[in-house]
């Protein structure tokens, strides 16, 4: 079931630049969906529209069946978000920051706040002023505020931006733990391929405001059987593969159809007088997919 639906979003900035061009996709319950794209591709604009901070020219976002554009308050009750940079009131303590933010959701449960603060590992620093926090601590406080009060969906807008490698790893593990423990649905926006690859089940790739891909993250693709074929007879190989129902891209990566076994395909190639120099399993990376889509468009 789709918990979050993005429907035909189109947005043009007052400067005339087209930020989004008829983008639609869904985030299913319990999945982590990555939004990927270059800077200015429209990722944050989708986040902004989802939170009702940016108005689309066309289209809408529905959360749990409620339209953000029509009934924003009801729709946002199910969401926790880190949107753009984690900016807090420097002159307030972490605890006071959480109090101010939770009051806007009409909710305050001290025990639950303490539990979440402990979960993000901020218990010792929570009474300190936010001005004294390191970047990593700010991100953890940002995550704490997003988790209060118990959202169904988390929107994370470049959450590891500016963190050191240890911080990124810690943050990633925390998110994956949350998903496992609480079954959270997550929409993650990032331009870091590795981050999307390691955390997401599916991804949407944007380019210049257009959706150019929606599907599984390649490393999560269980159903596709990919092999790398090395041959000097490319034309002939393509003919044989076409006859067998397989496809080969320009890098020699062959997708074996489910109807046949890989060794049968090799036999067909050899039988078709194709000189097979190498045939080995291939795991497509997100980078390959992304770069392929970029060069295509």
């Amino acid at each position: 079931m789709a918990l979050l639906e993005v429907r035909h979003l189109t947005k043009r900035w007052p400067t005339g630049r087209l930020a989004l061009d008829d983008v639609s996709f869904q985030v299913k319950e319990g999945e982590i969906l990555g939004l990927l794209g270059h800077n200015g591709a429209g990722k944050s604009t989708i986040m902004g529209i989802t939170l009702g901070m940016v108005r689309p020219d066309l289209g809408e976002v529905r959360i749990g069946g409620h339209s953000v554009q029509q009934t924003r308050g009801r729709a946002l009750q199910q969401i926790g978000a880190i949107y753009e940079a984690a900016v807090f009131y420097e002159y307030l303590s972490g605890w006071q920051n959480l109090r101010v933010l939770c009051s806007l959701s009409g909710w305050w449960d001290e025990a639950e706040v303490k539990r979440v603060v402990q979960m993000v590992n901020l218990t010792r620093a929570i009474q300190q002023k936010a001005a004294t926090y390191s970047h990593g601590m700010r991100q953890r406080l940002a995550l704490a505020q997003a988790l209060l009060p118990q959202p169904k969906i988390l929107l994370l807008d470049e959450p590891t931006d500016g963190l050191d490698p240890e911080g990124i790893r810690e943050f990633r593990e925390l998110i994956l733990h949350l998903r496992k423990q609480h079954g959270l649905t997550i929409m993650l926006n990032s331009h870091l391929l590795g981050e999307i690859e390691q955390m997401c089940d599916r991804c949407v790739i944007l380019k210049d405001g257009k959706k150019v891909y929606e599907g599984p993250v390649p490393s999560q693709e269980k159903s596709k059987r990919l092999y790398l074929l090395e041959t000097t007879d490319i034309g002939l190989a393509r003919e044989v593969l076409d006859r067998s129902g397989a496809t080969m891209d320009k890098h020699g990566i062959v997708e074996v159809p489910l109807s046949m076994e890989p060794h049968e395909l090799v036999a067909a190639l050899v039988g078709g007088k194709v000189q097979v120099n190498a045939w080995q399993p291939h795991h497509r990376t997100l980078e390959e997919l992304y770069m392929g889509l970029s060069s295509k468009s």
């Binding site: 902004g48 939170l51 901070m53 109090r99 959701s105 009409g106 505020q145």
Partner: protein
């Protein structure tokens, strides 16, 4: 309703956690002390002349209330507008600039409610600051002149001159400070309205101060005599009519109806501007 007060508490927590909020109070006290020292050293020349010229005993009317009234008048004129527009000019624009607005609006709270809370906070601050000013001036006046005496009330711009004994004088002083507090909410409203645009907080502060100053100058320059009804400071000055021997309540209420109408209009326009904005860096 409880939720509204919880959210308002959050806004007040932010306001009173900032050092700058207290600088306003501290600066006023410093200015009051300075004015008091000047009064102690040089006396109250023009006021003394006015009292004696009216055939009254200056010593009787040189009281804590008269001193407080004079000190309050100067303080509001010199610093009041500046601090109120500083706080109100910051309240939306600064949060927008710093990115706090995006943090707040990621919550299921409407822009209207958020702005209403902020508006009530900055106008409440205006009212509270004026009351603080009135009663801290009075406390300093007591230190200088002690309890008792008369009250010589003078508001030249609306030609109010009156003499009171201690009890009625104190009542008039308290009532006029309440109405002055209400008048000053208009300065906060102007700064708040400008703060709703996508501008620097300082621009909202300067814009509000400029408007009030130009309005004030035009009202007192004479050539706008036939257009006084268009100038907001004319209606804001109605607090002084409380000090007249016979209070013209219909005139005062009419004036405050205009003040409130201006405030509500500025809030509504500010909200309309803010509502139409896309909040994205």
């Amino acid at each position: 309703m409880i939720l509204f007060f919880q959210q308002w508490y959050g806004e007040l927590l932010k306001l009173f956690a900032r050092r700058r909020t207290y600088i306003g109070f501290g600066a006023f006290v410093a200015l009051e002390v300075l004015l008091l020292l000047l009064i102690k050293k040089y006396g109250m020349g023009p006021i003394q002349k006015a009292v004696v010229g009216s055939g009254q005993s200056f010593d009787y009317y040189f009281s804590a209330i008269t001193v407080a009234s004079t000190v309050m008048g100067f303080s509001v004129f010199l610093l009041g507008a500046l601090f109120l527009s500083l706080v109100a000019g910051d309240i939306v624009a600064k949060e927008g600039e710093d990115g706090h607005m995006r943090l707040l609006l990621a919550r299921p709270v409407s822009r209207f409610r958020l702005l209403l809370i902020k508006y009530l906070t900055c106008t409440g601050y205006a009212f509270f600051l004026i009351q603080f000013l009135a009663w801290s001036s009075f406390a300093l006046g007591l230190v200088l002149r002690g309890w008792g005496g008369g009250y010589f009330a003078i508001v030249p711009e609306i030609s109010v001159v009156a003499f009171y004994d201690w009890g009625p004088g104190l009542e008039r002083y308290a009532l006029s400070s309440l109405y002055l507090g209400l008048s000053m909410t208009t300065i906060s409203s102007i700064a708040f309205f400008l703060s709703c645009f996508r501008i620097k907080p300082a621009a909202a502060t300067i814009g509000a101060l400029t408007y009030i100053l130009v309005d004030f100058i035009m009202r007192n320059s004479g050539f706008m005599e036939n257009y006084q009804h268009l100038l907001v400071t004319k209606y804001m000055a109605n607090w002084g009519r409380i000090l007249a021997e016979t209070i013209d309540w219909p005139l005062i209420w009419r004036g405050y109806a205009v003040v409130f109408a201006v405030n509500i209009t500025l809030f509504t326009l500010g909200y309309a501007v803010f509502e139409s904005r896309d909040l994205k860096s």
